[in-house]
């Protein structure tokens, strides 16, 4: 443990307390620091990094950082090509990741990612009290009391960035003989084994990919057919990196993908029988194997927050949140990091946002902290005036290059609003769901969307008389550049009466 004298943020009273030192906690702490809002950051871990201190198991991420693109690394536009660096306003603190990667892959290794979060915290001067475990929560009037292993913290607002980190397994009979993904051993110990993997999400296919060389047979099973990200036109489904087991299965090469529910696991002297039931005909289908691994996901470690009134849903026990990541049941409790995936947004054509990954969560954290600062600390955001003649070009430039709109398609948007005195003001990046569902002055928001055919295009939402009546799509463009005469004309026609 770090000597007490060097440890920041002793127990006490703070305006805001952040719990967690993964990317979500670090990004939120950076934002609060830059807004000058006093806060404490506590974490049970001994160093920054969160889940990246341990995962992904096979030590290579799924999220790109492309060093050589059309934009300089210290620009805002570059953020679309670098999914793994945290956000900073100072150019020298942007794009930490490409400088730490060894050049062998556009996907950083796990140690590179962990180093990236630590480096960002060091360069931006963030302080974190490590080895301090949050153990319980109480209300004390308008304040919250956090009981921790080091003592009590009191705060007006608390930001929980604790990840979706607790391994979850179903209560299926015999699962006491089943290992969870987190307990996977080194690959060579699976040499010659018949392996059964429960789950067909990325973690299941990651294991299958990593063990193809070692296992004698791999069966992946869950009730629902697997989907591929290249078919969903999003990051939902199995990513391209992990498709090799699928191809092996199609060729009959020792990998099998079953659509079946798992009803029971029986242990024998040297093997296990997994009793499955096929989804297609309901028939029982027992399989004899040597090892079973459950790639069945994780839950939010929310400790006693549900007792306080934070409602949770789904297998991951995500909290019900507003569009600004505040608990719907307990105002003053906020969430950052991968927990933000509980805010669905418009989810048009069923395509989810990227809130579960760093490249989406980092913008959510910024939006959440800006909202918290504005509503609880009176720190009004700057809303610069914009000349009416410039609005169309500004919107189309955002649709073409804004990293927020590309990383969080159909979820975050750039908005401009007409003030009471007729001045047009730049609202910055907003939650699209909040924009379309809030009454307010005449305004326009632009975002980038993908439809069910995979077509990527700008979408425009115009608020008139306090209501957004419809969405309007602009044409797609082969190289995703919407700064054309045709797009200008189409957009002008859409917003002319409102902001033109």
């Amino acid at each position: 443990m770090t000597p007490e004298v060097e440890r920041p943020f002793p127990p006490g009273d703070y305006p805001v307390v952040i719990v967690g030192s993964g990317p979500g906690g670090v990004q939120a702490a950076y934002m609060l620091s830059r807004l000058g809002i006093e806060h404490a950051v506590i974490s049970a871990d001994p160093s920054p990094g969160g889940m990246f201190r341990r995962f992904p198991f096979f030590q290579r991420l799924l999220s790109w950082t492309k060093p050589h693109v059309l934009y300089e690394q210290d620009t805002r536009e570059y953020e679309w090509y670098d999914w793994n660096s945290l956000l900073a306003t100072e150019p020298e603190n942007r794009a930490v990741m490409p400088g730490l990667m060894d050049g062998t892959s556009e996907f950083p290794s796990r140690p590179e990612m962990e180093l990236g979060i630590r480096t960002f915290a060091e360069r931006t001067g963030l302080r974190i009290r490590h080895d301090t475990r949050w153990e319980g929560t109480e209300r004390d009037g308008e304040r919250f009391v956090l009981h921790t292993s080091d003592g009590d913290y009191r705060a007006q607002a608390v930001i929980f960035a604790v990840g979706v980190a607790d391994p979850w397994m179903p209560a299926t009979p015999g699962f006491e003989h089943v290992a969870h993904y987190v307990d996977t051993r080194v690959p060579e110990t699976y040499e010659g084994k018949r392996l059964f993997i429960v789950g067909k999400q990325n973690s299941g296919f990651e294991l299958a990919s990593g063990l193809l060389h070692w296992a004698s047979r791999i069966i992946l099973a869950s009730p629902r057919p697997a989907t591929l990200s290249v078919n969903t036109h999003s990051l939902a489904g199995v990513r391209a990196r992990y498709v090799q087991p699928w191809e092996d299965s199609n060729l009959g090469g020792g990998v099998f993908i079953l659509n079946a529910s798992i009803e029971r696991v029986d242990r024998h002297e040297t093997s296990l029988t997994v009793h499955t039931r096929r989804s297609d005909n309901g028939e029982p289908f027992p399989v004899e194997v040597d090892e079973v691994i459950a790639a069945t996901g994780f839950q939010c470690p929310l400790v006693d927050l549900p007792d306080l009134g934070v409602n949770v849903f789904g297998q991951s026990r995500l909290p019900t949140m507003t569009n600004h990541f505040e608990s719907a049941g307990v105002p003053g409790i906020y969430f950052a990091g991968t927990i933000g995936q509980g805010v669905a947004g418009l989810k048009k054509y069923g395509i989810p946002a990227n809130s579960g990954a760093v490249h989406g969560a980092r913008y959510n954290a910024r939006l959440m902290v800006q909202h918290l600062a504005e509503t609880r600390f009176g720190r009004k955001r700057e809303r610069p005036a914009v000349k009416p003649a410039e609005v169309v070009d500004l919107l189309l430039n955002e649709a073409t290059t804004a990293p927020e709109l590309w990383n969080q398609k159909s979820y975050l948007a750039r908005a401009f609003m007409r003030d009471e005195d007729g001045t047009i003001r730049d609202e910055g990046i907003v939650s699209l769901a909040d924009f379309v569902d809030s009454a307010g002055p005449d305004a326009v928001a632009i975002t980038v969307e993908t439809d069910d055919t995979g077509d990527i295009h700008p979408a425009v939402y115009v608020r008139r008389h306090g209501r957004v009546d419809a969405d309007a799509r602009l044409d797609s463009s082969p190289l995703h550049d919407y700064r054309t005469t045709g797009h200008r004309k189409a957009l002008q026609a859409l917003i002319g009466h409102t902001l033109g």
């Binding site: 979850w168 179903p170 209560a171 869950s222 009730p223 629902r224 659509n259 529910s261 039931r277 096929r278 989804s279 309901g282 409602n311 849903f313 789904g314 297998q315 995500l318 019900t320 949140m321 507003t322 569009n323 719907a328 049941g329 509980g342 669905a344 418009l346 989810k347 048009k348 054509y349 069923g350 395509i351 769901a433 379309v436 569902d437 969307e449 439809d451 069910d452 209501r467 957004v468 009546d469 419809a470 969405d471 799509r473």
Partner: protein
Amino acid sequence: MNSEEVVDELASLALFADLQRPQLRAVAHIFSEESFPPGQRILRQGFAGSGFYVILEGDVAVRIDGEERARLSKGDFFGEMSLLLGEPPVADVVAVGELHVLHLAGPDLKGFLEQYPPVMFRMLQSVARRLRNANRLRN
């Protein structure tokens, strides 16, 4: 809710009443759970790309041009009309309190109904009832 609890919930809903437990397990994995705060629109009048929803907990208000026309509650579903017609929804559906639903992506509804004809029949019955009630009102 974990997946077995979702299966229990599905088993209690009229829409899925004809499915056996293994089928319900598959259905539970096909839908995703979502939760919304009070006042959030889930279906938006005039917006493309909507989905299909089954209410697990809570109530929603159905509003056309801001005027409330109906309330739906646990076991009710919405979003199918616009998906069947391939048109944007003609009403807003708004969470009255905290709302907990199962969601199916719009483009997946056709395949889902083809795979589970008993669900399609139940849905058809529900749509027929709504049409009958609308005709009664008109007369």
